[in-house]
């Protein structure tokens, strides 16, 4: 909702300024190289930037992991000093969680949600750009501690107090951790609000909530989790940084505080975070498996409700991270039991995916391999999760490598493999060329084998009593063999990631000699596949009227009287051409980028010199003003007809859901 609707008249008499009367506040125009990316408010470009940055940090976090595994390959090695080891495992966890998996999910959410619900863009395009730029500035800030902070944070990713206090961690690493995550958290919070509003308000006519693709559903649940979980970690991080910089004594036991408070705050955020990581992947699996089974998803409403149930129950299990912390036996029991029962909706999902495949025509393309592999690996992680829901058993398992194995099976097996499948699946839609399938399959097998070699043995190591976070181990405890296997596996994973990157580049080159993939290379089911590949900037030529779940499939296929599938339109007939002209799109803006640049300055100011905070505050504050004052539209930009799709409520058939009719996409795709 821009403040200024009318162009401001300037006094200058120059003709070109008179035509573009807004001076410095003029909104930039798209289409001029790198500036286009820096100023873009297009959800697709922002999604791509999230994805590329996430892959960069995947490599960073992966290199950290390789260094850790190299140190642990043999007992009593001195490859890394204990201090550096502690910093590396901390930064590995922080990088993978906050700078890889979450932004990778954000990449898909940004790119796909508007397409799957038939919208022009997200609800607040400039805020969307702001989310990305804040996140990337937080990510760079966090990692800059290697260069200017005397090393990374050395407190573990959950950074328990008082070990994270200034007494026990006197370098600046933990400061960068706290402020970096605070900055990145702002991004996730803004993005969550933006995407929630988008899903609730901007669905195409007829796209009722229960016609939405399961991916959009899972992403919606994820955004709600983010919106409620991030304020908790924000509070915790504020208290931590105030403790460290201003001696506020929130967590200092010597001042009478109980450091258990930090654990509660962290895990009230930290456990929903697990579902924030896993649910997007569940959504992608729920798109991929039906496509390559040639069947609709088995039990759509069970899938949706189990996802929602996981989202709710995820709030009631956090203290299972604290079974041995000394909280009372009855509170331990309460969390033990709630944790067991969260396995139920999770199990429903797994069985429904299998039922979707049952009797289907299973075409094991690369996305399908990743999706099915992810289901199998997540099952293992879920089952080991049940074993430590049992509180007495957890007293043996917690803080051992058994836990490390468990959460890597969940996060890497369930999350990363599923999203890798998503990458292969949507690649042609996003970039307009297919990834080579042979190489894709080699990538899958390398990654799956490497993954199991790395993390499978950790189950054994943990049950044999190997503690987490030890920078080395002695001979004679039986740890040698499986640690070496695990290290070998980690190098195979690294190779597979390198091979994936190679595949993307090589396939791009080869694609010049191949026919374009067309709008729907997989014969898929949801709306994004009715658009040309890559998606045109304006998404839909005309906003589709939605009549069923799997709308796109139903535009291609129907049933005869015997319930046999018949073709009612070819892909070419049913797909949109992407040739609409004069579609009214939100104008680009540089101010989100400028605003975001001020935040790390404030961060450095808190650590090094408070005057820098003033500078950063001026930059961000100025950008907020400029943002508010820039016109809602570039006066030179195309202004297509505002009624380029029907607002006809009659199309929304018999559904009594009040949200059935979306607000016109171009109207509300205005500005934040």
């Amino acid at each position: 909702m821009a403040i200024i609707e009318e162009p401001l008249a300037l006094e200058s008499g120059q003709a070109d300024i008179a035509e573009r009367p807004l001076g410095v506040m003029t909104r930039p125009q798209g289409g001029n190289g790198w500036r286009d990316w820096l100023s873009s408010v297009d959800h697709k470009k922002i999604g791509i930037m999230y994805g590329v940055a996430a892959m960069f940090f995947f490599v960073v976090g992966g290199i950290e992991a390789l260094l850790l595994r190299t140190q642990l390959a043999f007992p009593e090695q001195g490859f890394l000093s204990p201090q550096l080891y502690n910093e590396l495992f901390t930064m590995h966890g922080v990088t993978m969680v906050f700078l890889f998996i979450m932004p990778l999910a954000a990449a898909f959410a940004n790119y796909l949600i508007p397409l799957q619900i038939g919208a022009r863009d997200v609800a607040f395009p400039r805020l969307n750009a702001l989310s990305f730029w804040i996140w990337i500035s937080g990510a760079i800030f966090l990692n800059s501690s290697w260069l200017v902070g005397g090393g990374g944070a050395d407190c573990g990713w959950f950074c328990y107090s008082p070990n994270s206090g200034i007494t026990f961690s006197p370098t600046h690493g933990v400061d960068f951790y706290a402020i970096g995550l605070l900055i990145a958290g702002i991004a996730s919070l803004i993005s969550a609000i933006n995407l929630i509003v988008t899903v609730l308000n901007m669905r195409a006519p007829g796209m009722t909530l229960f016609r939405m693709p399961v991916l959009t559903w899972m992403l919606l649940v994820t955004q709600f989790l983010l919106a409620f979980a991030l304020p908790v970690i924000t509070v915790a991080l504020f208290l931590l940084i105030f403790d460290r910089v201003f001696d506020s004594q929130f967590f200092d036991p010597e001042a009478g505080a109980d450091p258990l408070l930090w654990q509660h705050l962290f895990w009230i955020f930290g456990h929903p975070e697990v579902y924030i990581i896993i649910l997007p992947s569940f959504g992608m699996i729920s798109e991929i498996i039906p496509t390559f089974s040639r069947k609709p998803l088995f039990g759509y409403s069970f899938m949706v409700f189990s996802g929602i149930a996981i989202g709710f129950m995820g709030w009631g299990v956090w203290a299972h991270h604290m079974f041995v912390s000394g909280i009372g036996p009855i509170s331990v029991l309460a969390f033990s039991l709630s944790t067991m029962f969260i396995a139920v909706p999770t199990g429903v999902k797994i069985l429904n995916w299998l039922a979707t495949m049952w009797g289907g025509k299973l075409w094991f393309t690369t996305p399908m391999l990743f999706a099915v592999g992810s289901v199998a690996m997540f099952t293992i992680g879920g089952l080991s999760g049940v074993t430590h829901a049992i509180a007495p058993a957890d007293t043996q398992q917690t803080d051992t490598y058994y836990i490390v194995a468990h959460f890597h099976y969940v996060i890497f097996g369930g999350g990363v493999l599923g999203m890798m499948g998503g990458a292969y699946f949507w690649w042609p839609k996003i970039f307009g060329y297919m990834l080579n399938e042979t190489r894709g399959k080699i990538h899958f097998w390398m990654m799956l084998i490497g993954f199991n070699l790395t993390f499978g043995p950790m189950h054994v190591l943990g049950l044999q009593g190997m503690s987490r976070r030890i920078d080395t181990y002695s001979e004679g405890f039986g740890f040698e063999f499986w640690n070496l296997i695990s290290t070998i596996g980690s190098y195979i994973i690294a190779l597979s990631v390198a091979y994936f990157i190679y595949n993307t580049l090589r396939s791009r080159k080869e694609a010049r000699d191949l026919p374009p993939p067309g709008p729907d290379p997989w014969d898929a089911r949801s709306l994004e596949w009715m658009l040309p590949s890559p998606t045109p900037e304006h998404n839909f030529d005309e906003v589709p009227i939605i009549e069923s779940q799997d709308e796109w499939w139903h535009r291609k296929y129907g049933y005869d009287e015997d319930h046999n599938v018949i073709r009612i339109a070819t892909i070419e007939e049913a797909a949109q051409k992407g040739d609409a002209v004069g579609v009214h799109l939100p104008s680009p803006s540089f101010w989100p980028l400028v605003l975001a640049l001020g935040l790390p300055l404030i961060g450095y100011g808190i650590i090094f010199n408070l005057w820098l905070c003033v500078l950063g505050g001026l930059l961000s504050g100025g950008a907020i003003y400029a943002w508010a004052l820039e016109p809602v539209d570039d006066p030179d930009a195309d202004h297509g007809p505002h009624d380029d799709h029907g607002h006809d409520a009659d199309h929304s058939d018999d559904d009594d859901d009040g949200d059935a009719v979306a607000v016109g996409a171009d109207d509300s795709a205005g500005d934040a």
């Binding site: 009593e76 000093s81 407190c155 070990n163 007494t167 026990f168 006197p170 009478g256 258990l260 089974s293 069947k295 609709p296 088995f298 039990g299 069970f302 041995v324 000394g326 036996p329 331990v332 039991l337 067991m340 139920v344 199990g347 429903v348 429904n352 049952w358 025509k361 299973l362 094991f364 393309t365 391999l369 099915v372 199998a376 099952t379 089952l383 074993t387 049992i390 007495p392 058993a393 007293t395 043996q396 803080d399 297919m434 399938e437 399959k441 070699l453 189950h459 054994v460 943990g462 044999q464 009593g465 503690s467 030890i470 740890f479 290379p521 997989w522 014969d523 049933y559 046999n564 599938v565």
Partner: protein, 432 residues
């Protein structure tokens, strides 16, 4: 007829089968002599945990095989190499009966596991130990068998109070504990077949006390006394490791529990209750010292006596030796305010937080490691003792820059702080 451009397809037949086989191999690899093995319980309480865990692992294994096998079976039966036009299976959207069934069945399985969990959990947390009779100074004390466990960077302290009921209020601040009958470091002695209560806290950051063969772990948290318990079926040595990340040398914070017969435990109590031995030739020096006078040993032929004097001038501001500096000792200048009690140093078979052997395999004193440790502890175990800047207390033992002769004297003196344990115990407790 539209056929998809992407057609290279391999079947996943080998894939998941391989995983299942690999995983079984991995589980089979559990069999070993690992001293920290969680699946080899040596006490009733650890066994009850294991008994709860084993059937769940079995059920989990079955579920894993069913799901993995189901995927493999479908992959074999239903795979295709691309789609022909209108090549559709029956379009099934769901089945409420099935879905309700596979919601309820896991819920029932979970409920069964939950019942077993509740029973075991309450038993594991029930710490009502029977009193145990210990003879202290010729009198039989009814010891409510509690051992006070205090963690600090990066070693464990064990304190025994035979003549008082221990509760959190009596103990108060873990940094300033009342004087105990016995104080040891890195090695806890317990009588066999007797449930021992632990109360666990920390003097700095959070640690976690874990003897896998005897029970699960419990965090040591500053400002809080956590109840826990241990029991050993048989005499022997049980290894442990700090399991909550506690900073620089977390990996080098280990401990052992020695379970003894009643007679052996009584003998251990007797020797630990005696003050430290005074080396020959240093009797007058110690007497002067304890009288509060400015004492000096002067020239002495006894290396151990010279070592005692070196201890007083270099070590006594942190370390306590009962019978030497107990009258003036007010705590260490380290961040935790503590350092290991050395009164019976040579009766313990490990030192430096349980990572080094006091004795060689042949039973002789491990002079090499002892000298190296006193010479430069940082090189043996990073402990952030030096270079912390002004006003920051060391965490762990600082490098003191002592001369070689002084180091040698100190080692000679430490050797007198016995009694030396049996060769059998030395062999059992050996760490790498």
């Amino acid at each position: 007829m539209r056929k998809h451009t992407v057609s290279e397809v391999t079947t996943p037949r080998r894939s998941l089968g391989g995983i299942v086989i690999l995983f079984s191999l991995v589980l089979a690899g559990c069999a070993s002599d690992a001293e920290l093995d969680t699946l080899k319980p040596q006490s009733d309480v650890a066994r009850s945990i294991d008994n709860l865990m084993d059937p769940v692992l079995a059920v989990a294994g079955v579920v894993m095989v069913l799901i993995g096998g189901g995927i493999l079976y479908m992959a074999k039966r239903d795979h295709v190499d691309g789609y022909e036009e209108l090549d559709f299976p029956e379009q099934i959207h769901g089945n409420n009966t099935l879905e309700v069934a596979w919601t309820i069945i896991p819920a029932v399985i979970m409920a069964l596991i939950a019942v077993a969990t509740v029973v075991t959990h309450l038993a594991v947390n029930d710490t009502e130990a029977n009193a145990y009779s210990v003879e202290v100074a010729g009198e039989t004390e009814s010891w409510e068998p509690v051992v006070v466990v205090v963690g600090q960077q990066w070693w464990w302290e064990y304190r025994y109070y035979f003549d008082q009921d221990i509760d959190a209020e009596a103990l108060g601040d873990p940094r300033l504990l009342p004087e105990a009958d016995i104080v040891t470091a890195g090695q806890m002695a317990i009588p066999v077949g007797q449930e021992i209560e632990l109360v666990i806290s920390s003097r700095d950051v959070i640690h976690s006390h874990w003897i896998p063969a005897l029970n699960g772990k419990r965090d040591a948290r500053p400002g809080f006394w956590a109840p826990w318990k241990l029991e050993a079926d048989d005499p022997g040595v049980y290894f442990g490791q700090c399991t909550e990340f506690c900073g620089l040398s977390h990996s080098r914070m280990r401990m052992q529990v020695t379970a003894m017969t009643d007679d052996d435990f009584q003998a251990w109590v007797d020797q630990q209750m005696t003050p430290a031995a005074v080396p020959v030739g240093a009797e007058d020096y110690v007497a002067e010292l304890r009288a509060g006078n400015n004492a000096s040993l002067g020239e002495s032929d006894s290396a151990a006596a010279r070592g005692l004097e070196a201890f007083v001038s270099n070590c006594s501001s942190c370390h306590l030796i009962d019978g030497v500096n107990d009258l003036t000792y007010t705590g260490a200048t380290t961040e935790s305010g503590s350092a290991p009690d050395l009164t019976h140093f040579a009766s313990r078979t490990t030192f430096a937080g349980g990572i080094l052997n006091t004795y060689n395999r042949d039973g002789s004193l491990n002079r090499d490691d002892l000298s190296a440790w006193i010479r430069d502890p940082q090189a043996m175990k990073g402990n952030a003792a030096n270079d912390l800047g002004d006003g920051v207390a060391p965490r762990g033992m600082p490098t003191l820059g002592l001369g070689e002769r002084t180091i040698s004297d100190l080692v000679d003196y430490l050797e007198t702080l016995g009694p030396k344990p049996s060769d059998e115990l030395i062999a059992q407790t050996e760490v790498d």
